[in-house]
């Protein structure tokens, strides 16, 4: 064929050219993976990891997540727009395994939503009030901000933002959600990423310390940086040299980004003409997140520094004027900027990133529930879509109740640390990696007829990538089980590890019980999955 001859001929037909833009899928993955929240986590929990290198930790986390990103991209290319891992695992392994993974993932998303709601209250609204007081707007703002960090404040604020998220779907539907999201995304990028990088670039540490003292003085404490150091030292802080062990443990924090950066399977093209959308958007999002962190980490350490962050983690916040709790990075950036306007942009951008995640999660889980209901595993009502709002309102309502319960748990108990849910969220990823590895053997026709029919060292390409993903996800699980800061270490939190396994096994039991009940009703659930002969 001459180089300029067409490789194929297409005709006039619907849907032929419809494919999401790679750029959009990239941003979707980046927003979903919560770079801002995870960055806040790392510095808030820095005292757990003295001597850890943030740069090295996130690079290791990215390396562990990269094969999984490639695998998800390939599986999405093979089975686009069909329900993500629920379908991958149901087809490659068994429907009960597919359901268990998806149910488990949804369960732990419902749990982790409590992190978002309480962080919105504490590090969003609370931080904003404190910032206004810190810049001299009056103690009334401090009382206002502090209320959000009380148990009642966390729960009430979390519940209100959840109700508002659900109301978006109930009253404005998916269309309103998209409109809101469009605005929010820009504000998030500006406030949570661009402003912190610029402030970090153009502000010195000494200038920050001076601003910190002025800020704390307005909160009622003079010479706060010295008092911070004294309190931290009293509670065990000492400057730490680089520690590879701590760096490796700290990977568990950054896994919050790189374990969940391939959620753009909605952006499936209708014809597999080109591989670029998924291949570029999922592994590409890993690289983009690395780039963002490569900008955030050095600029943050330039202006705030590791030792200052460690001290914030060790010290009693009341000792240096921050009685409601240590500040997260947006508030520190606000302080460094010395400007309430720039500070407001940083805190609002960060908060909006968290707020946007709530309806996104409600949507994602309700979509999973829809799929279970569609296959008769769950009651039919869960798949009801309100024609006016185009929203699965009953599924969203169920998720809303679970999310409020999660907010209550995070507000009133210490059952879960912030990243405890990570193990529960990662286990289904490992199952998907196993399913991808076996897919060329379980459904050879599907793989052979795809763009991924090639072999590497005599093994199917998908098996090789799946094997690497097993190693990456497996290593991440290993770190989560090892790191005491993860909240799911085998040594300190064996009960929570059992809970993670228990939820998965319970979900498998639910599938089999549901199948038996449907059989009594005269419905053969197996028909929903049984492949017809193609001969």
């Amino acid at each position: 064929m001459s180089s300029d001859a067409p490789g194929l001929f297409t005709r006039r037909a619907t849907g032929l050219v419809r494919e999401g833009r790679t750029r959009d899928a990239l941003f979707y993955n980046l927003l979903w993976s919560s770079v801002g929240l995870t960055f806040a986590f790392f510095w808030l929990f820095a005292a757990f990891y003295p001597g850890a290198s943030a740069l090295l930790a996130f690079l290791i986390a990215a390396a562990l997540g990269l094969p999984g990103a490639f695998l998800y991209a390939m599986l999405t290319q093979l089975m686009p727009r069909t329900g993500g891992d629920y379908v991958f695992n149901s087809r490659s392994l068994h429907p009960s395994i597919g359901f268990a993974g998806n149910f488990s993932y949804s369960f732990w998303l419902a749990v982790v939503i409590g992190v978002y709601t309480t962080y919105i209250a504490s590090y969003g609204f609370g931080a904003f009030g404190r910032m206004m007081a810190g810049f001299g707007a009056g103690s009334g703002w401090l009382d206002f901000g502090d209320w959000f960090s009380t148990r009642g404040g966390l729960f009430i604020t979390g519940t209100v933002v959840l109700l508002l998220s659900a109301a978006i779907f109930a009253f404005g539907g998916v269309r309103l959600f998209f409109k809101i999201q469009a605005v929010c995304f820009g504000l998030y990028l500006l406030g949570a990423i661009v402003v912190p990088v610029l402030v970090g670039l153009f502000t010195s540490h000494s200038s920050f310390v001076s601003s910190f003292n002025d800020y704390a003085a307005n909160l009622g404490v003079q010479d706060a940086s010295a008092k911070l150091a004294a309190s931290a030292t009293e509670l065990g802080f000492a400057p730490a040299d680089f520690s590879f062990e701590m760096t490796l443990r700290a990977v568990s924090i950054f896994w919050f980004i790189f374990g969940f950066i391939f959620s753009s399977n909605y952006f499936a093209g209708e014809i597999r003409l080109a591989k670029r959308t998924h291949i570029y958007s999922m592994p590409g999002a890993v690289l983009l997140a690395v780039l963002v962190l490569l900008c955030l980490v050095p600029t943050y350490t330039h202006v705030i520094g590791y030792d200052f962050s460690y001290m914030l983690g060790f010290a009693d916040p009341a000792g240096y004027g921050f009685g409601a709790g240590a500040p997260a990075y947006p508030e520190l950036i606000a302080i460094a900027s010395g400007s309430p306007v720039i500070g407001a942009i940083a805190i609002i951008g960060f908060t909006i990133g968290l707020l946007t995640w709530l309806p996104q999660t409600l949507m994602l889980v309700s979509r999973n529930m829809f799929a279970w209901s569609f296959d008769n595993v769950m009651p039919a009502k869960l798949s009801y879509v309100d024609p006016r709002s185009r929203s699965p309102l009953i599924a969203i309502g169920v998720m809303l109740v679970l999310s409020i319960a999660s907010t209550a748990i995070y507000s009133f108990t210490t059952w879960f640390t912030s990243i405890t849910a990570l193990l529960g969220l990662t286990l289904p990823l490992l199952v998907t990696a196993i399913a991808g590895t076996l897919l060329p053997y379980r459904h050879p026709e599907l793989v052979e007829n795809s763009p991924y029919s090639g072999k590497v060292l005599g093994l199917p390409m998908l098996t090789v990538v799946g094997g690497l993903a097993i190693l990456g996800f497996g290593a991440a699980i290993g770190i989560l089980l090892w790191d005491p800061g993860s909240g799911t270490s085998l040594s300190d939190n064996s009960g929570k590890v059992l809970l993670v396994v228990g939820v998965y096994l319970a979900a498998m039991a639910i599938w089999w019980i549901s199948r038996a009940i449907r059989r009594q009703q005269g419905i053969d659930v197996d028909l929903a999955y049984r492949e017809l002969p193609a001969a």
């Binding site: 490789g7 952006f267 209708e270 879509v385 049984r530």
Partner: protein, 326 residues
Amino acid sequence: MGLFGKKKEGGGSNAAARMYYASDIHGSAVLWRKFLNAAGAYRAGVLVMGGDVTGKVVVPLVEQADGFHVDLFGQRTVVSGDAVEEMEHKIRNNGMYPHRMSAEEVSRVAGLTEEQREEWFAEVMRRTFDGWLALADERLAADTRCFVMPGNDDPAGVDDAIEAATKVEACDGRVVAFGDWTMISLGYANRTPFDSPRELTEEQIYERVSALADEVGDMSRCIFNLHVPPYDSTLDTAPALDENLAVVMSGSAPKLIGVGSTAVRELIERYQPLLSLHGHVHESPGATRIGRTLAINPGSDYHTGRIAGVLLQLKGDTVRHQFVTG
């Protein structure tokens, strides 16, 4: 909406039938074979294919001295010997048409006007579709009824091929009966941004279907088999497209809109048939009630090698349904 949902009250004959409906297989040979095999696998006496049976892409296998040059999924390969048929098989199973051509013929087709190329496409597709119909003659049992209609993406020759088939029955634009039930069908869609071969205005859709519906006396045992789903029904949700046919994004996600037919919705609301079956919008599977009518779109995942369909248990003026992916 229930999968095998609640039985409706009703009387009349106790006659029963099991029906399998699928749509939008878009040239996938695997899915056509599965569709035919559904009769035996699901013990369905009636099969209905709701349109868009032909593919959208022809992949040339360009004959050169060293073999056939093929560009598939953006990868150029050279195949010869047995590998040629394997490649053709792979292309067919992806819903595309392999076509052995010389380099000169490729250049000639590339130089055709759009209308001329559509005719060329129709000829290539017709050859494959004739083979499918011959396979149906071989496979289908004598007591199985199999109705196939073209959809908005299918070129004109498809009708003639179905009319000429032995076992497969044409149903587009007419009233057909099986058992105690009647079915009226229309494969045309409302206007799309793609200017596909079979599109009508909403008024034309309304006129054509209402003329058929007026022939049917008992709507309680009537099935609408209309390719395009009713507007704003949750069965018609698709991403909005801009003037370049690219997905319109809102923030970081596609903007979703209803793309169904307002005429179809009005027709269902007016006539209230027992059941209304639809395809066309692949990404919007589901079932919903419009008045007493159960409206269903099983969706389509044709490029995955799995056929999305729905099993329907008809009994008198009641119907139960279960989505199946085979």
